[in-house]
Symmetry: C2
Subunit: 473 residues, 2 copies
Amino acid sequence: MWLTLDKQSPLSLNRQISSQIRTFILRGDLPAGHLLPSTRQLGKELDVARSTVLEAYDQLLAEGYLESRSGSGTRVAQGIRPQPRLTGGSAAMLPMAPLIEGCDPPELVNFQSGIPALEQFPAGEWGKLYRQCCESLPASALRYCSPAGVDELREAISGWLLRMRGLRADPGQIMITTGATQGLRLVARLLNRPKALALVEDPVHRGLVEVIARAGYEVKGIAADAQGMDADQLHNLSEDCASRCAFIYVTPSHQYPTGGILSAPRRQTLVNFAHARGCMLVEDDYDGEFRFEGTPVSAMRELAPEKVIYIGSFSKILAPALRIGFAVVPAALIPRWIEEKQFTDVHTDALTQRALASFISSGTLERHIWKMCKLYKRKRQYLLQCLRERFGGCFSASGQAAGLHMVAEFPEIKFTEAMLASMRAHGVRAVPVEHHSLCRDGTHAHQLILGYAHLSEQAMERGVDALHAALRS
Amino acid sequence: MWLTLDKQSPLSLNRQISSQIRTFILRGDLPAGHLLPSTRQLGKELDVARSTVLEAYDQLLAEGYLESRSGSGTRVAQGIRPQPRLTGGSAAMLPMAPLIEGCDPPELVNFQSGIPALEQFPAGEWGKLYRQCCESLPASALRYCSPAGVDELREAISGWLLRMRGLRADPGQIMITTGATQGLRLVARLLNRPKALALVEDPVHRGLVEVIARAGYEVKGIAADAQGMDADQLHNLSEDCASRCAFIYVTPSHQYPTGGILSAPRRQTLVNFAHARGCMLVEDDYDGEFRFEGTPVSAMRELAPEKVIYIGSFSKILAPALRIGFAVVPAALIPRWIEEKQFTDVHTDALTQRALASFISSGTLERHIWKMCKLYKRKRQYLLQCLRERFGGCFSASGQAAGLHMVAEFPEIKFTEAMLASMRAHGVRAVPVEHHSLCRDGTHAHQLILGYAHLSEQAMERGVDALHAALRS
């Protein structure tokens, strides 16, 4: 077992050991039944006291990751389903972070994607509005609310979508969700049928693929390039696949992770396919509010409101901690959506919904978005400048017209596991696009996802320096 | 179509019409394809303008409940799955309220169960604590948190469970959920297997049965009496049923709805069965904090912590609107629980979790519970007194040792649909226990569920008077 211990780390040695073994198990690197080294042996190997290893094993036994029978040693427990393989700190829309907790030294620069500049979150303002809501609340507002959400919020989102995205959605079609992940999960439940197939972009956020797969779907990737999903490939699908397709999941305004914007002809192709084959389109607009250049592109929903479920999130705009998102749902699906949501968690926290409604209608949300847009634009330029200074013409950047991350391609470099380990040793962490690829044919092995929204200029500079040192070595 | 309009209601006539038709459709009373009367005809029947009916139909067309083709009239749309049949205002742990919205005249007394005295909720204090949390928050607390929940809250709940319920649970085993409904849903997902069977008490909360059934289970009822589930009947199960049983769902501290406390021998029988057949026990302690008399009974979890998943909720203690609950999960299940929760909604709102943690650790929660306990005890006594004054020896009350409701049995009276309609006409609404029965053999047709926590003394008195008038007529 390859464990690395950092004796300077604030994390105790036994926590470092248990955390790394847990990660191996969750990633499937240590399969069920696998025999672990004895505590004596591992203690010797790692140059730590045997009792330290014993504590780590005990922790994992208590958590159910390990099993121990007298006389037969300690083994990996049965029944742990490995996570989809997402190496490193890849935690964009759906975070794996809690499962790979705390092994990073504090000075490591993590170009993780999808984390906003959280120190900018107007927490004081938010808390004030929340408190005001509490103080003016009638007792009836403390009862269960509609599974669809609190009306004030649905109306506020409707107005905001029109102002910010030019998207016309009736408040009655806006369904509040406990985060966008739940939105996708509800979609998958609702559209499910025997032998259902879902088509997704390739590369794609792996966590979201797992959400779809867990609802019982077969998931098939359609290659995405700089113009988003290559919709023409839909014509090459077998009749079997085309007829089983329940929905197509796309990120039209900022393809995750490559950053392309879905072109107009491809949008039309998707809509035509959906009409011809009776399937739905799921438009995930996870960070489309942050646009830095180019003409704003409408939401795909505008083309075919009755065929598109639009999924939105406030995780990137406000904070992931809040767990509030929404979907714009075609009228015909609303009764079943409400029913499914009701049996999922009844409804999303109504006080937070009210606070958000007043955050939107007071104009605070839009002020915050504009401010963040300026900030992210500056950060993006700074990161590009650092990259150019260090790498000159040896790299190219793409997907940086919007959102919280860009993709940097280094044609000479292949981001293998060894390379990523070397990068971490130099003090920088980033996820190759290849890790989000379904076919894993190496097409994206030269590309790194660089999330910058949460990083200071100093951190970006240090990160790019470390990357440069690692790639040169 | 039997519609009742109330021209004095603050609800517009077209909303009254659309709401009632929607309810019929959702209950399955109007099946898919059913032809509706023409707007002209219905307008005449109801003595309202044709345009009023037209507006109601348009609303339902827009929502997808109805379909209209030119020349063939307006029909109930295809593909709407009827709700499990829960007549009237039965909305205890899982509310149906939003789906049967607003047809009650304001002066009607609704003995709905499971609604706390929400005007007593310390909203000001809650808002203040929430705001303080926001103001002292490090930016890192705004990121995604662990699917298991915020550590401060898990520790606070652990201490509170020990103080309030004598329940010893390690904070590491406490998993925060987006309400208890989600807790049960996660349990059902986690323990699922081919041909899985779940055993539940009969009568039982029908909404929760639906949650289990939707996870793919066959659900079988075991009769419950004044001592809770009749566990001896487990010995009469066929070998097939016993071997397919994945879990047994019980409400040991206050059987829903009959109110019995599961006796000690029956608890032991359940635990023995779980050990012998390798199934789990799910203990739902939905309102066990409110105890009025008798010796406090431990949680069943104390008997076999490794075989019991304990589900708790703050909906009854604080407010349903908050959507926060928890489960105490055996160590062996934790890795898969965390994984399942992550792909459900990543985690529960972390700011609300922090506010609740400080609400608990400041002692506010316990003060609130004691205050509510005294209040509910008083209300319960008042309701009993009203019933005795009106009905003398013609009724008996049970299940009133705890919780937010009691059961009143009227041996001479059968609560048929006609009787319930007459009760509503007299201005009172209550749900017979029979509506929560799975076998519907009439055993519980003489019993009414009377939720009193949310009612004033005046309202209770008016409700009992109306009940008396209805039963006499």
